[in-house]
Subunit: 382 residues, 2 copies
């Protein structure tokens, strides 16, 4: 029997409070107010403005991407990413059941179907081995395209998710995608600042999508960013996310179905201020993770999940692994009843009504994690 | 030959400047900075926060709606509105070719098709007479649903747009919709504060969508609002626009395909401040319109478009009617070359590549307006 009181005490001490400890709240210690005032004073609050441009440039530079395009949310960034990779209605896309629902919603907006592949024990993210195994058994290549032998549908892309900021084995996924003619779209919603072998998450696939929701490592209130290695594709994303308007001095001509997915300048202003603090935030988050790791080494029955080998994780949300489902529930109840906010991993996609009939590969590790993972407080501490 | 120099001088004088006069820029003279600071200080910048709730309540109260739900843009507000009215893939929707592209884009996201009906000379908005005429000739009612005899597709809804803030003959449209079993979705993007026979635009149909883009009468940077007369439908909208998450202390369960269309608290904060100033803004806009009306009465060859009878218009963008296409072009060139921003009406939807094959009724008045309308500076002047 784990001493949960000890855990709760440790977390209160870690955050230097006896009050309620939230899971992940934003920190504003930089130029946020100054930049917001600038927006109001210049009246540039909307879709055009210097902070939009600056945020895109700084983010591309930070991540080492050729181009970055702001979006109104991570979900919508992913939606556009999938469209730009040629995912169409009735296509199938390989992804995780262990993810936030946004990954699969974005697919649904296009009319595509997820196929759920198991995750690795070491990363909590899409397993290259499981993916290869599923493709070997279930797919066939025709005219340079991959098809699901069971459904007859085209398998167009693969969307791994860097779960809680921990990078997946992305270089191996790149190889499997190349072998099976799949586009690689990285759901990097949670992994700003995370690196795999020194390279920023979201820059391995054709496109990567980042989220700046309020609970993320840095926030813009709500928002997202698409990362591109192909500058032309990035320009097309900008066009499509800004209603596909053709530039003209006064005419209002639009050359394709466009989206109003522009991040307003006022949100980009916060983004610029937050990005200036990102490295400091990640340093703080990694220090917290280290303290958790040291603490849980001394606690029987609870393992702290550490970054995969060769990876630099932002430790967006810290993870403990309980010994089974009943221990997980006990942990959730005790901590939430005693002033420490915790939560289980998202309900598996295969258990939600809208995705329960989608194909999956058995999901052995996925189910193992679902029964054991709990997220514990992870806010930046300065 | 119109004396365009006189027009340009008048507009410079109207706005008390010899510098460039923009078309429509926001005005921040209220609590914007104070409310933004409050967001930063409390760290409530994201999708949950008091300004989101307050903005929805105040907006419902202002418009006389049972419920109002914030959205990330007017386009997305319209998208959700159409979904909630049961518009499905391959349905047809009656609307205007004389509109901003967002109206038709929102339809396209669902996979529905616009059918373009002519507008009234008196309103620039969807004509009840033309609509009735088209339905009489082209539709058939089967099992309480309306079908297009030519295409065999179901005609599910009608989306009138209150062009530039001038209300359409909405009570007659309500009747035609009832007769033909069509849902009425009001595109009230441009018409906050506008009234038809004393009732706020956007509250006549099942749902109405408002926009708070940067160029609108009031702004949130980017954003929109859906107005409901049916509170339960409003609650469903809130659920769908917030990722369809089922409330629970810690579980992450979602019961349908949801959207991340939440307006962040930081944007709603600006919205609250702006809404406090709305009546004053509209008073200013109507005064400007009156001055334009008086001025253009003395100018040969240019008519100023005044609010339809029985209507109270916000005069979002002021409109002049030139005598033909060449006069329109001459006006656009002269004004834009001489420090006064003007623009023609949007390119007709029937002339855009993605909608050019959609059915239309001939669009006599629509084309007449397209060749003659120019928008002239309309910013609030305090």
């Amino acid at each position: 029997m784990v001493n949960l009181a000890k855990v709760v005490d440790f977390i209160h001490e870690l955050y230097g409070t006896k009050d309620f400890v939230p899971l992940s709240v934003p920190k504003f210690v930089g130029n946020e107010k100054k930049y917001l005032e600038d927006c109001i004073d210049t009246t540039f609050v909307s879709s055009v403005g210097k902070f939009v441009d600056r945020f895109e440039e700084k983010m591309a530079e930070y991540a080492g991407a050729k181009k970055a395009v702001v979006c109104v949310s991570g979900t919508n960034a992913l939606h556009i990413s999938l469209m730009l990779c040629g995912v169409e209605r009735n296509d199938e896309v390989l992804t995780q059941a262990l993810t936030f629902v946004a990954t699969c919603n974005a697919l649904s907006y296009i009319g595509a179907y997820p196929v759920f592949i198991d995750v690795d024990k070491s990363t909590m993210g899409l397993s290259p081995d499981s993916m290869k195994e599923w493709l070997r058994k279930n797919s066939v290549i025709r005219n340079g395209e991959c098809y699901n032998k069971n459904t007859g549908r085209r398998v167009k892309a693969c969307v791994p998710m860097h779960t809680f900021g921990h990078p997946v084995r992305i270089d191996e996924l790149v190889q499997v995608c190349a072998e099976y003619h799949l586009e690689l779209v990285e759901d990097a919603a949670e992994s700003i600042g995370s690196k795999y072998k020194g390279q920023h998450a979201g820059t391995f696939g054709k496109v990567g999508a980042i989220s700046f929701n309020g609970n993320k490592t840095i926030t813009t209130g709500g928002g997202g960013m698409i990362l591109f290695q192909d500058e032309e594709l990035g320009k097309l994303a900008k066009h499509i996310t800004t209603q596909a308007k053709v530039p003209h001095r006064w005419e209002f001509v639009h050359d394709q179905i466009g989206y109003n997915y522009r991040m307003p300048n006022i949100n980009a202003a916060i983004g610029c201020a937050q990005l200036e603090c990102l490295d400091e935030f990640i340093k703080s988050k990694r220090k917290i993770a280290k303290e958790y790791a040291d603490f849980f080494k001394k606690v029987d029955g609870i393992d702290f999940f550490e970054e995969p080998e060769g990876c630099f994780s932002n430790y967006w949300l810290n993870v403990v692994i309980l010994k089974d489902k009943s221990a997980q529930l006990e942990f959730l109840e005790y901590t939430n009843d005693n002033g420490v906010m915790t939560r289980p991993i998202w309900e598996l996609m295969t258990r939600l009504p809208m995705f329960k009939n989608c194909e999956n590969d058995g999901l052995r590790n996925t189910i193992w994690f679902a029964d054991r993972v709990v997220n514990i407080p992870s806010s930046v501490r300065l």
